[in-house]
């Protein structure tokens, strides 16, 4: 029965692709924008209709592409009767709205934006109804919330628009979050996130102990979206949107998404007591309450909004009944409500457009002035009231019929009586819409002189009204689609026959009571209205605003305590919580017996330890003298390097000692521009507090390390040692790990280092263009400056040392694969060799002799490393697979050539470039701080003096 339907992808994609066009051609005018919105919609609709015959025959069209199979997320669509019904509604009404909006919006509005939002929404909504994967459905679900936010707030200059948009987003977004939880539970029970699978797993889901949480969470999503009590309040406030949006989103499509979801999940979730009592009761309350409020609303759109709330309640109630006949009634009413309510909204829009008011109390007598609008509005309103020969009558009869034999908590009267009251109120507000707007005497105080709108504006509602009458008179026309959709909802093969006359049934009596009662109620409207205005009513927006304000106040109070702008406070909180978490973890784990003996302590090591500890304590006590503290930091770093040498880590020792050198240089450079002393400003209490935190953290880390070192654990290192030579071709296992086993990590790390270098350069660049440069020029550093800035001895020595240092760097680089060394260390050594030149002869002199930019070095380094890694692809091996061989050239010893060495060259260049760029950027500040530019390499150049002398002679 399943047909492959790859065209479904196209249908789902069309609105999103189409959304790009109107937004881009924002200046092309309303006609162009509307045409380019209608085109994708129409194409999608035509493509959809090609599937219609098959779907009406009971086939299910499916299409699937895996997206993230690990998450169970696939892009899969399916089209059954229910999906077809909704998709037709979305695209069909979309077309009508496009036409209507073209004439409704004024030339001053950004029409392109509007149509882009509209298409985005349409695509999202279409996605909901044809998704086969519930995760995909959730994505589209959230998209509708977001795009409707944009649409409701389209008139950005109206505060009601912005507030209404925010409220709608908050309520539907929160419901969407709840629904995500429910859907995940559902998928978990069913073992699949595909709707078609979940729909088969109904029994398992209803039997699961997670059924109730899942049900409540999913219903929260559905109820918020479909504006069910007590979440109904956002819908009237969303009416600040332009009327085309209200007609499209808030009557025809988006608010029905919740109803759609309940219908979709009907075979899985319905049929239990919980479903009946939650869904049917909520629907019933919403239906009556919405109708009651609608009766007393003076704003046309508010009246229609509450009427929509009421009708959505009706649909929810029908689905809640859980019977097949009720499902048929619900599906039929979805169609009918769409036709008359969208027409009514458009009518309200026309009236607003022509008279410049939507206040019922300022209207009346429009039937003479706007005869076309009068006919359209009256037919639609009569259908809403449930008057025979209009389609609203048919589904309302079916609803009353179902209600008449539904018992609620052993009461046979509760549901029928309430349903009749709901219908009665519905008749009252529908008739009020006709009477107070169109009937009565013509007034002379309309804000604008009303007349019928151009054809473009009334064409869309007229078409809908024709449908209202057609279905109302010949209900069998809708048989096919209702049967297909209702079969899809219930999972049973239904074949309902829709008729006008069902004989004299309880529903007929209820209907008569409703119509007569509604008419009577309308006659009493004036006194009732006065009473209603006087009666105290909870104002939903005020409650909502207070709730939001309370949330904001709560979060703000938390934020202001923890995040008050003081970094030291965050760091303290962070440290304390880390230590606390560590302590909890430690307490929970328990400690096994030590398995390793402690190593002996030679005297020299004990001396080194004392040096390190004393230096650390001194840094803390003397940190106010920044220069001294820096020297002490150097001592600590050197002690650690020595420790690495002793404890079998020659590579680390080499790296540490060279990084130490550049770090100290860097800090010295920075200190030149910073205050040399830290003021003593912490009160004693703060020092004690910080001391306690610090000592606790230190004790924790030290204790952890101590416990760790005394125990053996199994590691993966034996693999690295065993394969270092055979697999990587090197005997220095650390280097082979870096350039081969874990080359990917190294590749990432050199990129990070390169980025850090660029970042510093960029920061400096922007700094020197701002007020900092001025401050630097005005600062007086003369006292800091040495009288002998470029001493002769130093210049000569560094010059001599340069080739030696470079040689050492190359040597360390070349031996790296087999002996301690490698790209990292070599890069640092060469960087130090270059830095010595900067120190000895100054920035400008050295800069003049620089051939290659440091940025270029970083770039080449990363590229070389990357290309080396990618080279493995040529040989069908994964990224960064290395290869090596041993070469023997007669005059020299046999030596190794490995691609890993090329990779290491990339590391070397990047490290060199990054380190140089960082220090170079810092020293550039000096240029702005008024340092004179030296052309000579040294302050006193004996050779130039000798020439001068000879010339003088």
């Amino acid at each position: 029965m399943n047909t492959s339907g790859n065209v479904l992808f196209l249908i789902a994609l069309l609105p999103f692709v189409g959304a790009l066009v109107p937004g881009l051609m924002i200046r092309a005018g309303r006609n162009a924008c509307a045409s380019f919105t209608a085109a994708p919609t129409a194409i999608a609709l035509i493509l959809l209709l090609t599937y219609a015959p098959a779907v009406l025959n009971g086939e299910v069209i499916q299409a699937e592409v895996m997206w993230l199979p690990q998450l169970g997320l696939s892009v899969s669509f399916f089209l059954d009767g229910l999906g077809l019904l909704f998709a037709c509604m979305i695209l069909g009404v979309g077309l009508l709205i496009t036409l209507y909006a073209r004439f409704y919006l004024s030339g001053d509005d950004p029409v392109g934006q509007f149509y882009t939002y509209l298409l985005l929404f349409q695509g999202a909504m279409l996605g909901i109804v044809i998704s086969d994967n519930i995760l995909l459905l959730l994505v589209f679900w959230e998209l509708t919330s977001l795009s409707s936010f944009l649409l409701i707030g389209y008139w950005k200059h109206l505060p009601e628009g912005r507030q209404g948009a925010r409220m709608a987003l908050t309520v539907t977004g929160a419901g969407g979050l709840a629904m995500i939880g429910g859907m995940l539970i559902l998928g978990n029970i069913a073992g699949s996130y595909n709707l078609t699978d979940i729909l088969q797993a109904g029994d398992a889901i209803r039997a699961s102990e997670w059924y109730l949480p899942a049900l409540i969470l999913i219903l929260l999503g559905a109820f918020t979206k479909s504006a069910q009590f007590p979440f109904h309040f956002w819908l009237p406030h969303a009416m600040a949107a332009p009327t085309p949006v209200s007609a499209y989103l808030h009557s025809a499509t988006m608010v029905k998404a919740g109803v759609f979801l309940m219908a979709r999940m009907w075979p899985v979730l319905s049929g239990t007591d919980a479903w009946f009592y939650i869904v049917a009761t909520t629907g019933l309350i919403t239906m009556v309450l919405g109708a009651l409020i609608a009766l007393f609303k003076d704003d046309l759109k508010a009246l229609l909004a509450f009427s929509t709330v009421s009708h959505l309640g009706l649909l929810t109630m029908l689905l809640g009944f859980g019977t097949e006949a009720a499902a048929v009634a619900a599906v039929f009413h979805i169609i009918n409500h769409l036709t008359f309510k969208a027409a009514l909204f458009m009518t309200a829009g026309i009236i607003d457009h022509e008279t410049h008011t939507r206040d019922i109390k300022r209207l009346g007598g429009l039937r003479h002035l706007m005869p076309i609008t009068f006919v359209i509005g009256t037919v639609a309103a009569l259908s809403m009231a449930g008057i025979p020969l209009f389609n609203g009558f048919l589904s309302k009869e079916m609803m009353l019929e179902e209600a008449s034999h539904t018992s609620w908590a052993a009461s046979h009267y509760a549901v029928p009586v309430m349903a009749t009251i709901g219908a009665l109120l519905s008749v009252a507000y529908s008739l009020r819409f006709i009477k107070h707007v169109f009937l009565g005497p013509v007034r002379d105080d309309y804000p604008a002189k009303p007349h019928d709108p151009p054809f473009g504006l009334w064409a869309a509602p007229a078409l809908l009204v024709i449908l209202v009458v057609l279905i109302g008179v010949m209900p069998f026309l809708a048989d096919g689609i209702v049967a297909a959709a209702a079969s899809a909802v219930t999972g049973a093969d239904l074949d309902p026959h829709l008729k006008i006359w069902h004989g004299v049934t309880p529903a007929l009596y209820m209907s008569v009571i409703a119509v007569v009662g509604g008419a009577v109620l309308l006659m009493l409207h004036a006194p009732l209205d006065k009473a209603w205005i006087k009666a105290p009513r909870p104002e939903a927006k005020a409650i909502f605003d207070r709730l939001i304000a309370a949330c904001v106040a709560m979060t703000r109070s938390v934020t202001e305590v923890t995040h008050n702008g003081a970094i030291s406070r965050y760091l303290a909180i962070f440290t304390v919580s880390s230590v606390a978490l560590g302590a909890i973890a430690f307490a929970g784990g328990g400690l096994s017996e030590p398995t390793r003996d402690m190593l002996p302590v030679p005297a020299i090591i004990a001396v080194g330890w004392v040096m390190l500890v004393v230096a650390t304590i001194s840094v803390v006590t003397m940190h106010h003298h920044r220069f001294r503290a820096l020297v002490l930091i150097g001592i600590i770093g050197l002690s650690i390097s020595a420790g690495f040498v002793y404890m079998s880590a020659p590579d680390l020792a080499l790296t540490q000692i060279s990084v130490e050198t550049v770090t100290i240089m860097l800090l010295l450079l920075a200190l030149h521009f910073l205050p040399k002393e830290t003021p003593k400003e912490s009160p004693l209490s703060l020092k004690i507090r910080d001391g306690i935190i610090a000592v606790t953290a230190g004790a924790g880390v030290g204790g952890l390390a101590f416990a760790f070192m005394q125990r053996d654990v199994s590691t993966i290192s034996s693999y690295h040692i065993a394969n270092s030579y055979e697999g990587g071709g090197g005997t220095n296992v650390v280097n082979v790990i870096l350039v081969d086993f874990r080359g990917y990590d190294t590749y990432g790390e050199i990129i990070v280092l390169g980025i850090a270098g660029m970042l510093i350069y960029a920061l400096m660049q922007s700094l020197l263009e701002g007020p900092a440069a001025r401050r630097l020029r005005n600062a007086n550093y003369a006292n800091d400056r040495s009288k002998d800035r470029h001493p002769l001895m130093m210049v000569v020595v560094t010059r001599v040392l340069m080739p030696i240092a470079l040689m050492v760097g190359i040597y360390i680089f070349l031996r790296g694969h087999n002996q301690p060394g490698g790209g990292f260390v070599a890069g640092l050594v060469v960087a130090i060799a270059l830095l010595m030149q900067y120190m000895a002869s100054g920035f400008a002199w050295t800069q003049d002799r620089q051939r290659i930019e440091y940025h270029t070095l970083i770039g080449f380094g990363v590229i070389i490393a990357g290309v080396t890694g990618a080279g493995a692809w040529v040989f069908d091996a994964p990224f960064l697979t290395s290869s090596y061989t041993y070469v023997h050239l007669p005059p020299i010893e046999e030596f190794e050539l490995a691609t890993a060495m090329l990779f290491d060259l990339g590391v070397f260049l990047t490290v060199l470039g990054a380190v140089m760029l960082m220090l170079y950027s810092l020293s550039r500040i000096a240029r702005y701080a008024g340092t004179t530019v030296n052309v000579d390499p040294m302050d006193f150049d004996p050779s130039s003096r000798a020439e001068d002398n000879s010339e003088a002679r």
Binding site: T575, T616, A670, L674, Q710, L753, L759
Partner: protein, 117 residues
């Protein structure tokens, strides 16, 4: 020996954290440097301590080696922590030059409303 290393790590951590909680940029940078030493040595020590067992494969048959993996990780960590320190130094220097103060905390009276103006 293990105790010495552990106590050194603890001392450096304590010193680092204390300096980190100071109110000026320079001590914070020093504190971070101390803390990176501590973290690097801690990571290194997770490979257990070993004397005369460098992870350089011997030409002369069987030998035991210390764990090379933490060393490789620490090697890159040392270089990266230099990069991090450099960025931090640059930012604090920039902040000092722009605002003429090296306090790390925002003045409590300096609220969002003021910034908006």
């Amino acid at each position: 020996m293990e105790f010495l290393v552990a106590s050194a790590i603890g001392t450096m951590t304590a010193g680092g954290v204390y300096l980190l909680l100071r109110l000026r940029t320079f001590p914070v940078i020093l504190g971070l440097a101390l803390l990176s030493y501590a973290v690097n040595v801690f990571l290194f020590s997770s490979g257990r301590l070993a004397i005369d067992m460098s992870p350089i494969l011997s030409k002369y048959g069987e030998a035991t080696y210390t764990d090379p993996l933490p060393q490789a990780l620490v090697l890159t960590a040392i270089v990266i922590s230099f990069g991090m320190t450099a960025v931090l130094v640059m930012i604090s220097l920039g902040a000092f030059l722009e605002s003429d103060t090296d306090r790390i905390d925002i003045d409590p009276t300096d609220t969002d409303e003021d910034a908006a103006k």
